[in-house]
Symmetry: C2
Subunit: 410 residues, 2 copies
């Protein structure tokens, strides 16, 4: 295998240039401020965690974990989500804090990828966890906060699709009892939204006609609260019924939040994560095929860290949102260039400090008098708003100090 | 070897709880804003880089690099500084941008550590690189910006010690020509500021009396600009003389910046990094034994990435500054608790949104009427400013909605 070239970076990771960083920081700050106004306080955890604890507890499949060894020969992983590290913190450093706990984060996340996949190996997520509250009220709170967070991030048109793992589990328990393989295959079809494949697989199972129709009918279970009523009639399984009633309650709360225009119930939705135990949701921006947010309830994770508790939360896919919104083009501040010689240096640097303190961006440069004359002449000839060009950069103003009077060209 | 416990995190890394995150974010934002006002734009690079390029070019010794393999079997490293990645970016993505380039960063950095050392394996640095300007003016700019950045971070009392690798190199070239081992040993003593060891080693070398005195005398070369004059007389070596004249010029510029009260020339100072080629500096906060900033000129790094250019820069040790300044105790915003039942939910959540939009932090909670009565009664009895305690948390105000009139307890 050939050595990497000096200019290359590893596959699946990227550099963010100033315009992208400004935009990313804006999204980060606005979303974290929104989360904070809902009482979610930010925490930060290490990039590396033990494989045997957080690595194993995370929802990421083993082959997607980046692994490395520390000096003791213990296997570490680069965090593949923030939910498992936060569960560790809630169960250790925060073990004396009373529930409910509301925590937020903005963090880079790592996933080892297949070469051909074109997926990102490092990306940003901004999210929350609400730990210690099992109610529909809590689930609705995180959905409503996901909606507020997407708006804060600058995403205007989006839908949140809400499902519940208990509905399908209950339905399959009744209709495909003992046929775990068939259940898994059907779920896999739904996970990748392959409805054609789902129908084909169903037919291959040679189920009694009413059962087959029942399982086909769930594909139409997408819409508003009326979907819950239809679903209640579709299955009398206790788990399925309880799941639907939970979604119905959530809908009532979301109505009170006045956010139902963004919400869709979709009972064919299966959370990507194996550890979801209740409602799950995904956020889709208009015209985009991939989710910009995902979340759900995970009531079994915390007990793996010794402090059993129900929990619910979500993460925005911040890197995708950045791509959706694009780089900022015009929010780099107006820049001032100050040119000077030895004799003007003291005045020039004092002026620079004064302008910086008043909020300006100032670049200082010692230059020849002839160069300063040229910049000033160019600036006077220019008719555009950004008048001064120097060494490939544009400036809104040029000020010169050459041991004489201050001279400004704006 | 025993498995890690579920609550453990790896050695040398840490969790930041909300109070620490608020403070860290404050430092980060204030320092980056300061750097931006000097024209330095922020960039971000991947956590992982190729070992064969950035890993090898970095100043970190091989045994301190965290290494891992990607799916292709290529060795990657977790970045051990930001200078080498930025050199890569300047030589690739930014190869068409004209010099000088002013770039800033705030980033976590990784160093594999000896078990017993108690050093951190992951920590934050906030810094700048000024690429494409070889002048004393440029070196003075980054020193002045380091001073402004330390102030922006909230460090009040500190000194910047400035040295120059050329002075010792020139002096040793003349006095210890051909005795590389002795040169390395003496430099190692100076690097760890072991002046007793330095004197002992000197005596063991059995040098002629005047040479020994000359080499002992450098230990006294710490102070203001007058040190430069003494140093010019100490050695007539061309390299040493050019280095001193460079420092002298820098001092003139730093005078114009009006920051000399923070600056000390220290010709015994050796940069920690093997790749410094000119002036180096370290920032020391009052009463602290370790540096809170370090930087210098590295004119040989960029050519390893195919775009030869002089460069100078520095990094604040942000994690140490955080420890120095301590967690914030009182800047978590005042929080409002809103309690409600089913009948009051719509009003309660609308009120919450309105308060959040006006800048408040609001936590909403569905509760029994009896619980709300209890909270309200406690609040009325309390005489402290933070009147409301609920589930272990304090709130500045409690507002209730129970399908009746709004009731506020403040």
């Amino acid at each position: 295998m050939s050595k990497p070239k000096v200019f290359e970076k590893p596959i699946g990771v990227k550099d963010y240039l100033p315009h992208a960083v400004v935009k990313l920081r804006q999204i980060e700050n606005q979303v974290l401020a929104c989360m904070r106004s809902w009482g979610y306080e930010q925490i930060m955890t290490p990039t590396m965690e033990y494989y045997d604890t957080v690595g194993v507890a995370s929802s990421t499949s083993d082959r997607k974990l980046f692994k490395l060894l520390n000096n003791r020969g213990t296997t570490l992983v680069l965090r593949s989500d923030m939910t498992a590290p936060i569960a560790r913190v809630v169960s250790s450093v925060l073990k004396d804090s009373q529930f409910p706990l509301r925590l937020s984060y903005h963090s880079n996340i790592f996933r080892a990828i297949e070469e051909e996949a074109g997926h990102e190996a490092e990306f940003f997520q901004t999210g929350v966890e609400l730990v210690g509250d099992a109610s529909a009220e809590a689930d609705a709170e995180v959905v409503a906060l996901a909606i507020a967070s997407l708006k804060a991030a600058g995403v205007d048109r989006f839908k949140i699709a809400i499902g519940h793992v208990g509905f399908l589990n209950g339905l399959f328990e009744d209709t495909l009892s003992g046929r775990e393989d068939a259940q898994e295959e059907l779920k896999a079809c739904l996970l990748r939204r392959d409805y054609v494949g789902y129908r084909e697989r169903l037919r291959e199972l040679s189920l009694p006609e009413p059962v087959q129709r029942e399982l086909e009918d769930i594909l139409r279970l997408r819409g508003s609260q009326e979907i819950c009523l239809q679903a209640l009639q579709l299955s009398s399984n206790a788990t399925a019924q309880a799941s639907i009633r939970h979604l119905c309650e959530m809908w009532d709360v979301l109505k009170a939040y006045d956010v139902c225009e963004h919400v869709l119930i979709d009972l064919t939705m299966i959370g990507d994560f194996s550890y979801y135990t209740g409602m799950t949701f995904e956020g889709y921006a208009a015209d985009l095929g991939f989710p910009v947010a995902s979340g759900g309830r995970y009531d079994n994770l915390l007990k793996q860290f010794g402090r059993p508790a129900p929990a619910t939360g979500f993460a925005l896919k911040t890197t995708r949102i950045l791509e959706l919104i694009g780089d900022s083009e015009d929010d780099l501040k107006e820049r001032v260039l100050i040119g000077y010689n030895d004799a003007g240096r003291g005045q020039a640097l004092a002026k620079a400090q004064q302008l910086r303190e008043s909020g300006a961006v100032v670049i200082t440069e010692k230059m020849e008098l002839s160069a300063a004359d040229e910049v000033a002449a160019d600036a006077e000839r220019s008719e555009s708003r950004e008048k001064v060009v120097y060494k490939g950069e544009t400036f809104a103003a040029f000020i010169r100090f050459f041991g004489e009077q201050e001279g400004a060209s704006v």
